[in-house]
Chain length 369, copies 2
């Protein structure tokens, strides 16, 4: 089977849905922890499963370079390789080619670049992006797109959109696996008309899902929301909508209010490794000396393993002592925080009180867009 | 309650026993994973509990320096602080004063030294070693001893033994907690007569348990066994015997054959962090390119979480990619290997076939003493 999306209810533009995949069903809006190199940094699959993570993202670029997608295919695919039997979405590799790879050259045929690991010369074409993701065997694959940085002149943005549409056609033509859904990616930066052009071309190709790419690349949150609103309006209501690489809790709240269903971001694990904890009352910096004797949990009321068993004082100690368990416990808590945030969002939509929920949460964080 | 030891059966000098502590009962011979800074590196208490670890060791020196034993006492003691409700043994801090601390001066009153963390001037006396361990609230505390390195001239070894006996008297006199057992440490290097002097003086003081210190400090395995045999003969049969800082599986097998009941060592976690796995057929170096496509578990037949869910190829990938999960999975497997080794040792003693068991194990490892 491939993936199917069911829209259960709406509360204004905010949507409650259910995404079926060959490895299980996911309730949306959903957050996908990032397992860049076939592991969510610092956490075991058992820990992720216990804290309620339902779907992970893995990075095609990283896995194609190391250990290689053919190695993973030979070992039974990505799910088996990384010991994760729930759904996996893979990106196309495009974003990393633009952000990580060396000596990058892009033409209509492909992106040619050097590996950031060993400098070897590689090529990523739409056909190769499909072959890699089919080797990985993710539940959801992404079309190869071109994702220019914020501040790219409109004439080049237009070129990138043209190429993104052309590559989406080639991705669809070369994609083979019936047990893998292929989502298209809408580009266009913060140029609303360009995004509309891109969206209408891709919607006409009837993909099972649509991603909004090219956000969280340097623009402000206000610029993102301004460009996001008309973009989501162009997408078919019956297909899932995925905002790539976003983001902070307040960004997720804003995007859900505009009708986005899926998110991914490295923040919970990256901040966890840097001793920063997400809480309903805003971030805690656990290295701060004020926590040296604090017997309370990381976040009061949180039911994650870290909050049930350890004090802020202990986590503070672990970071000062340079112990691996510090990053592990805070990554675990932060991913649990995001999982809980999404559950609370879904409940608020189901109860038709999403706007109020969003306002109360933002007020408590002391944060506005 | 304090601790009590019951000798269940013997097979030659090898002993099967049971050690009761305020936080539970431990079957001996037992291996104690090392949680130097109130954490076994890379593992959660839940993972340690699941793999069957029954008692941990924590380091008095490290915890007194950071976060401070009074901070831990204020937070409810070491068990609560580190989220470990099973037994804990703390060392006296002496070994680290000799191996880690700076500008060390020792006289009969105390060891005076500078912290290896911030250079602050500190003093460790027998009374202070007792106060720290009572603040930590471990189930088993150790007397402060003097542990000279291998190769120390006999005249200084004699001085260290005299001081170790004197300090044991002062430790016993100042020790207060009825819910904490205090073990004495026998020193004397590889000088058998000195060890006998030390043992008879300490046995006369009637401690609830005895440790053999000053091993694994640079001597060969043969030198250790040669000095160990007469040492264990001097100890009362009804008290537990703990060989500090040992060691490799073959060293543990040899020491059990001489009547030792308790062990601790950093090897399983340190080797795990360095991509080296213990197996019944000897060590695997998981960074080796031969494992790139190896679909088998780390160790065939092992039932630990890492072996049940992941391939050698995946662990190889994690280490090459610099992912934290690599050290975590191999530390977990290695501690599980030691836990299983001790269970097999206990079964062999119970079935009165320990000598054969030891010979078969050593032959399979391709290793002899």
């Amino acid at each position: 089977m491939s993936s199917a999306f069911e829209l259960l209810t709406v509360d204004g533009p905010a949507r409650l849905g259910r995404l079926q995949t060959p490895h299980g069903t996911v309730d949306t809006p959903v957050f996908m922890p990032v397992g860049t190199q076939a592991t969510v940094k610092g956490l075991t699959p058992a820990q992720l499963h216990e804290l309620g993570a339902g779907i992970l993202l893995a990075n095609t670029y990283h896995l194609a370079l190391r250990p290689g997608d053919e190695v993973i295919a030979e070992l039974g695919g990505l799910h088996k390789f990384m010991g994760w039997q729930s759904p996996i979405l893979t990106d196309s590799g495009g974003f990393q080619v633009y952000s990580l790879a060396l000596s990058r050259k892009i033409n209509d045929q492909a992106a040619v670049f050097r590996s950031h690991i060993d400098g070897s010369l590689l090529e990523l074409s739409p056909e190769r992006a499909m072959a890699i993701q089919e080797n990985l065997g993710s539940d959801i694959a992404m079309c190869l797109d071109e994702c220019p940085p914020f501040g790219t002149p409109p004439e080049y943005l237009r070129e990138a959109v043209r190429r993104t549409i052309h590559w989406a056609e080639r991705c669809r033509a070369s994609h083979r696996r019936a047990d893998q859904a292929l989502f298209a990616i809408i580009q266009g930066g913060t140029e609303v008309e360009l995004r509309a052009t891109c969206a209408s071309a891709l919607v006409a190709m009837d993909f099972p899902g649509y991603a909004l790419g090219g956000f969280s690349v340097g623009e402000t949150a206000t610029q993102m929301v301004t460009a996001l609103e008309p973009s989501t309006d162009l997408l078919p209501a019956e297909k899932p909508r995925y905002l790539m690489g976003v983001g902070r809790p307040q960004d997720i709240l804003a995007a859900v209010a505009l009708g986005v269903d899926m998110f991914d971001c490295v923040l919970p694990t990256r901040n966890g490794r840097n001793a920063s904890a997400f809480t309903l009352d805003g971030p805690l910096r656990l290295r701060n000396a004020r926590y040296k004797r604090d017997p309370g949990p990381i976040e009061s009321g949180c039911q994650c393993y870290a909050c049930r068993h350890f004090s802020r004082a202990y986590v503070h100690h672990l970071f000062l002592a340079g112990e691996m368990l510090g990053p592990t416990l805070l990554s675990l808590h932060n991913v649990a925080f995001y999982v809980r945030l999404m559950a609370d969002i879904r409940q608020a939509i189901a109860q038709k009180r999403y706007a109020e929920f969003q306002a109360v949460r933002l007020a408590r964080w002391g944060s506005t867009l």
